[in-house]
């Protein structure tokens, strides 16, 4: 069933069950996302997709609209919040884009550019984050991990067991790789995990520059253009 909502005052028609992000896309309004992946249910961890639904700030990736809903995306305070969330991610990790293999195909880098996050207003914390180089095929660079939980929730071995997990909590939360389980993944599954990670935290050992600069995901079409085409991966 179709319902009608307004996005920044513009009426659009969407299917029942559509999210705020879907409505925004239908109206041509860009809402950035980081943890959301089009093939999977919303994870709701990054909170970068702040929008307003009937006057309340919500995560656009997971909040559903109803008939007659009023969605706001463009308001200055919302744009500020989205930029601030990206700023927090840069401040809490160690993101050195020029030396990162994922540059040009990294969602965080692309979303930072789209939200105007040039330097974080939050003090950079320069945490000591250990790299886990010990797996045969996967290089886990925690400096760049944004704890989106895509790998944690979505990567499974053939027996359905998790491969990536978290330990700790709060600011000490970190992602872990279960090497014994990872050893059982096929090369395709490893490649899928690398591709699933929105940043350069999960990398394939022995592979570099498999996509040349200039031909990378966001070199070809910006994260905004992709999102407005409904591509969020």
């Amino acid at each position: 069933m179709s319902i009608t909502v307004t996005v920044d005052g513009v009426p659009v028609t969407v299917e029942e069950g559509a999210t705020v992000a879907d409505a925004a896309t239908a109206a041509g309004a860009y809402v950035p996302t980081l943890c959301f992946h089009e093939d999977h249910p919303a994870l709701g961890t990054c909170r970068v997709c702040a929008a307003r639904l009937d006057g309340r700030v919500v995560a656009a990736c997971s909040a559903e609209v109803h008939d007659g809903a009023e969605v706001e995306v463009a308001a200055d305070d919302l744009a500020t919040m989205r930029r601030q969330v990206v700023g927090l991610l840069f401040a809490e990790g160690n993101h050195v884009c020029p030396s990162c293999e994922k540059s040009g195909r990294c969602d965080l880098q692309a979303v930072a550019a789209e939200t105007g996050m040039l330097t974080s207003e939050f003090p950079y914390r320069y945490p000591g984050r250990e790299t886990d180089p010990g797996d045969a095929r996967i290089w886990l660079a925690r400096d760049r991990c944004i704890l989106c939980q895509r790998c944690v929730d979505l990567v499974r071995d053939d027996e359905g067991r998790p491969v990536f997990t978290l330990t700790g909590r709060g600011p000490d939360t970190r992602v872990e790789l279960d090497h014994a389980t990872a050893a059982g993944l096929s090369d395709e599954q490893v490649a899928a995990a690398v591709d699933l990670c929105p940043v350069g935290a999960i990398l394939r050992k022995g592979v570099g520059y498999d996509e040349p600069i200039g031909a990378r995901r966001f070199d070809v079409a910006s994260v905004r253009e992709r999102a407005l085409r409904g591509e969020r991966r």
């Binding site: 939050f122 067991r161 090497h179």
Partner: protein, 629 residues
């Protein structure tokens, strides 16, 4: 929760678990718990009781038996700060580090503990006897400083008492012999009373009255059709006592009408909000009211299983509560054909938490009950629709369930006549701090702050932390006339009084520190934003804030409030924002000092100067070494 491991984890995977203990306990635990993942916390507790920590070989065996990976089991274990992945001493000591403890000699008690145990805070003494840790509020605000020792607790500590207790344990006594010298059986109320005080200060219309005949209440209630029972709860106007104030009758209806075969009833006894302890007192003095409330809920929604989620810090109540469940079973009030109603079967198990404030959030609590990390779920769907293991589940606070029993005893009108229009009835307050009558008080909703302060004998009250850190710091001078109620000043039960000698900015900072440590860490604004807010609060409190810091307070608070995934991050900025807004003199002083600041806020003059000495020494030493070679 242990810190990050110091080595790359490569080696731990290829090689088999290092020197497994000769006989593993895990297989037996798995058998006892039917290889049920949702009992993982119970199994971890059992392992820790046995080994003092959680050995990797045991965790690997659990993982195997549960059909998952070691990483997955560690993912759960490492979330809870009462679990230890590395050896943590034969006895684990947790000193409650709270604002109130700090007002009552925390520093001296900590110094005595370090001296007597030989352990430094966060570590284990050289003989491996004592592990000494700090922990947030353990629900004893009216008798701090307080210390957990394994499953036991010692309250009202002084350095002398510490020397005595630790001395006797050192000399070979078991902590339980020291805490309970008369050897009272652990399932008796007298045992609980021997460990802690339950200070009930008022006997209001609802609680702590002559014993309610819960058998009669249940028998009468289950003679009604379930929807009639729900209707009576709705009529009473009862709203949840855990904080959010959701309409209890409506929650029950949502659960009862959600399409499902199986439903659950969960009692939230996590009581983690610093400053609150009324659920502990209620569970000690009138556990039958809360349990009967669960039975009534089960009947009202059609549930067969219930869980009482008891915070790990209340482990010393476990046997007592289990015995209460047993007594109810004996009376036919739990089990089969309850209250004489054929086909109404319901029973309750106790789930012990393991140290995590966010597990009081209802969906995090359900994750924890399922043997996972306490990450709050995305809502909607709400637990009443999709709850424990995906089934519609009622999660209600201890006091809420207890009130339900009284409502059905006395009638909904009796209840709704008390209180105010939108806030029916009374509420229990956990009163502590600078007052002469700390303890549990029952007041009608609508009572003003001034009147509560008179009741608890706090003539010098300057500020009240209402609802704990997640609530607000309220100025008595400015807002003493405000009334506790959902319409005016909401209250989850915590009521902590400060006189004018207290440094409220220091209090705010401690509360922010609490939120930093208790964030589950899965959403960005809370995980990364709270440390930034804590830095701000620290600079403001130390008089080092500059104008940009002060400008950031509201903006960053709005970010956390608006974008956080759960109530923790939504309210974690309140210690700072409410203190500055209700005490503008503190904000003005901070602003005035910021005007004098000629330095960048991030520049810590003290630290910079302090670093000079060692740096100079190193230089001199290096030069001498160079000259010597």
């Amino acid at each position: 929760m242990d810190g990050p491991s110091t080595t790359f984890s490569a080696s731990s995977t290829a090689s088999p678990p290092t020197s497994p203990p000769t006989s593993l306990v895990a297989p037996r635990l798995l058998a006892v718990h039917g290889h049920d993942r949702s009992r993982l916390l119970d199994m971890l507790w059992e392992l820790q009781r046995r080994h003092g920590h959680l050995p990797e070989a045991e965790l690997a065996a659990l993982a195997d038996g549960l059909g998952t990976t070691l990483g997955d089991v560690r993912q759960t274990a490492s979330f809870y700060h009462l679990f230890h992945l590395r050896p943590a001493g034969r006895h684990r000591l947790y000193l409650a580090d709270t604002v109130l403890a700090r007002m009552h000699g925390y520093d001296h008690v900590l110094a005595a503990l370090e001296r007597e145990t030989g352990a430094t805070l966060g570590g284990v003494d050289p003989t491996g006897t004592f592990g000494l840790f700090s922990t947030p509020c353990i629900g004893l605000s009216d008798q701090e400083p307080a210390l957990l020792v394994d499953d036991l607790v010692f309250a009202r500590l002084t350095p002398d008492r510490v020397a005595d207790v630790i001395g006797r344990i050192r000399a070979g006594a078991a902590p339980r012999e020291v805490a309970n010298p008369d050897g009272i059986p652990t399932h008796l109320r007298e045992y609980v009373d021997a460990l802690v005080e339950t200070n009930v200060r008022t006997h209001g219309p609802v609680f702590f009255r002559p014993r309610t005949d819960v058998a009669a209440v249940i028998r009468e209630a289950v003679a009604l059709p379930p929807e009639k029972l729900r209707e009576r709860v709705s009529l009473s106007g009862l709203r949840g006592r855990g904080g959010a104030g959701f309409d209890t009758g409506l929650k029950w209806r949502l659960c009862a009408t959600a399409p499902a075969e199986t439903r659950y009833v969960v009692c939230n006894a996590d009581e983690g909000e610093p400053g609150t302890f009324k659920d502990r007192v209620l569970l000690t003095r009138q556990p039958e009211l809360a349990i009967a409330g669960m039975v009534l809920a089960a009947y009202a929604v059609g549930a067969r299983h219930g869980i009482l989620y008891l915070r790990g810090e209340y482990a010393y109540l476990r046997h007592y509560l289990a015995h209460q469940l047993h007594l109810m079973r004996e009376q036919g009030l739990l089990g089969r054909d309850i209250g004489g109603r054929t086909g109404f079967d319901f029973d309750v198990r106790i789930q012990l938490g393991a140290g995590s404030y966010v597990c009081g959030e209802e969906s995090a609590l359900l994750e924890s009950c399922e043997g996972k990390r306490g990450n709050p779920r995305l809502k909607p769907p709400f637990p009443a629709q999709v709850g424990f293991l995906g089934h519609p589940t009622i999660v209600d606070n201890v006091e809420t369930f207890a009130v339900v029993t009284r409502v059905l005893e006395e009638g909904p009108e009796w209840f709704s006549r008390m209180g105010t229009e939108d806030s029916a009835g009374t509420r229990l307050l956990s009163v502590a701090g600078d007052c002469d009558l700390p303890g549990v008080h029952e007041v009608a909703w609508g009572t003003s702050l001034h009147d509560v302060l008179t009741l608890v004998d706090a003539p010098d009250a300057y500020a009240v932390q209402v609802s704990g850190p997640a609530g607000g710091c309220v100025s008595v001078a400015r807002n003493g006339h405000r009334r506790l109620s959902y319409e005016d000043l909401g209250c989850n039960g915590a009521f902590t009084v400060f006189d004018s000698s207290r440094d409220l900015l220091e209090v705010a900072r401690e509360h922010l520190r609490f939120f930093v440590g208790e964030s589950c860490g899965i959403c960005v604004p809370c995980r990364a934003g709270n440390p930034a807010l804590l830095d701000l609060a620290t600079r403001i409190g130390e008089g080092r804030a500059d104008a940009s810091d002060l400008a950031h307070v509201e903006s960053w608070a709005a970010l956390l409030r608006g974008t956080s995934r759960c109530g923790l991050g939504v309210s974690s900025s309140r210690p700072l924002t409410t203190t500055l807004s209700d005490f503008p003199e503190l904000a003005r002083a901070a602003a005035a000092r910021s005007g004098e600041q000629g330095l960048l806020a991030s520049f810590d003059e003290q630290a910079a100067v302090a670093a000079y000495g060692p740096a100079a020494e190193r230089l001199v030493a290096a030069r001498e070494e160079g000259a010597g070679s």
